[in-house]
Each structure stands twice: as C-alpha cells, then as structure tokens.
Amino acid sequence: MPTLNLFYFLSFVAVLSALLVVFSKNPMHSVLYLIITFFAIGGHYLLMNAEFLFVVHIIVYAGAIMVLFLYVIMLLNLNQESEPHKSTVLKFAATICGGLLLLILVAAFKGADQLPAAATEHTVGYVKSLGMVLFTEYLLPFEITSVLLLAAMVGAVMLGKPERLNKG
C-alpha cells in the first residue's frame, strides 16, 4: 500500500528532523531542520487531499516565517555554538516531563481507533470547496484577520525601531 508507506516515510522525516531541531547545537542548523519538518508536514497535508493548505503552509511557514528566523539569527550573529546549556539535572527533568506528557497524550487518545466510520469522500480540501466555505460562512473572520496582520506589522515596526527614536 504505497500511501501508507509514504505516510511512514513522511512521519519518520518529520519526527527525526523535529528531534534534530531540539538537539542540534547551531541555531542555524535548527532552522534548516525545522524547514525539513515543515515540508514533511506539508506532505502530510497533500496526503490528506488538503491541497490549498499545502500551498499556504509552504508559502507561509517554509517561505515567510523561516526566512524571518534566518534573518534574525543572522542579524544577532548567533550562528556559533556559544550558547550556555542547562545543567544536567534540568535536562533530565525536562526529558522526564516530556515523556510524561507523551504518556498522558497516548492515554487520552487510547480509544481513537473506535471512532465512527470515516466519510466516504474527501473533497473538502480542494481549493474550490474550501474557497466556497471561506468566502461565505467565514467571511467576517477572514476580513478581521487582515486587521490582525496590519496590527502585527505596526507592532513589529514599533518594537524594531532603535531606542533613541522612541523617545523623540
């Protein structure tokens, strides 16, 4: 079953590069591994017929957000391994907490294989059907999102200004 094999491959890539995001020493490498993770998640979207979200995901995450991260790391000149690390006790505690959280999530999802049967057709992710819903039922939230993005842009410019300009 090629779909299932593709799912396993994409999951393996996503989990492995997500682990490398956390454990690689150089922040620049972390960003690059995060891009690989995002591409793998985008592949999952494509596997689920969500082609519109696949395109938006690639453009927004792998395109815009990751470029922002790369620029900030470049501007702050953080691409050397000078970061101080937490003590071994704290790292151990963090790992234990992560394992406990995974345990809780697995326990919470235990009955998930007994859900009602899936819908027979999966056409909802196509651009046409999603666009119909987005521009009829969710038109007001869609328009308000533009205000949110404008506010974020103004806020980022305000925060990014040098200190002496803020006083004047």
Partner: protein, 100 residues
C-alpha cells in the same frame, strides 16, 4: 485511507518534541521555533479530522491559525531583537526581570 489514530500518534509525538524543546533549551529563538512546532502538530491533527469528517471548518481554522502564527512570529522576533539590544543575549535565564 490512513487511519485517524496514526495521525493522532504522530501529532502527539511532534507536540511532545516541541514541549521538550521549550523545556530543554535556553536559546530564546530555539524556544520560539519549538512553539511553532507545537502549533504545527495541532494543525496536523485538525486537518486530519477535517478530512476524516469531510467538514471544511477544521481546514478553515488551520488557515486562521497560520495567519495568527505569522503575526505572532513577527511580533515575537521584534521583541526578541529589542531584548537582545538591551541585554546582548538571547539566553532566557537572563530574561527574568518579571520574576518576583
């Protein structure tokens, strides 16, 4: 068609890795990236259920989450640059001035 619980396990794993990264690292930018990872894990499970039920609401919400995440990253990185300008570091142990 892939069973829905496979996506739940994958999403739980990715979310846990994100939480682990937030707890494990001291670099604020890495912590920020791990928050993005957690958002993506939730997005993944939302798309999976939307596809499973053939209901468009989940995918519309994921679209809005992406817009909010973009706004969050822009403002968050601006705050990070401002803090770096003041303290000359991105170490989150230095950024403890709100601590009582």
């Amino acid at each position: 068609m892939i069973p829905i619980d496979y996506y739940l396990w994958l999403s739980a794993t990715l979310f846990t890795i994100g939480v682990l990264g937030v707890l494990y690292r001291r670099n604020a930018i890495i912590v920020f990236m791990c928050i993005e990872l957690m958002l993506n894990a939730v997005n993944l499970v939302m798309v999976a259920f939307s596809n499973y039920m053939n209901d468009a609401a989940g995918q519309v919400f994921v679209f809005f989450i992406m817009a909010v995440a973009a706004a969050e990253v822009a403002v968050g990185l601006a705050i990070l640059i401002m803090m770096y300008r003041i303290t000359r570091t991105t170490d989150i142990n230095i950024l403890n001035r709100l601590k009582w």
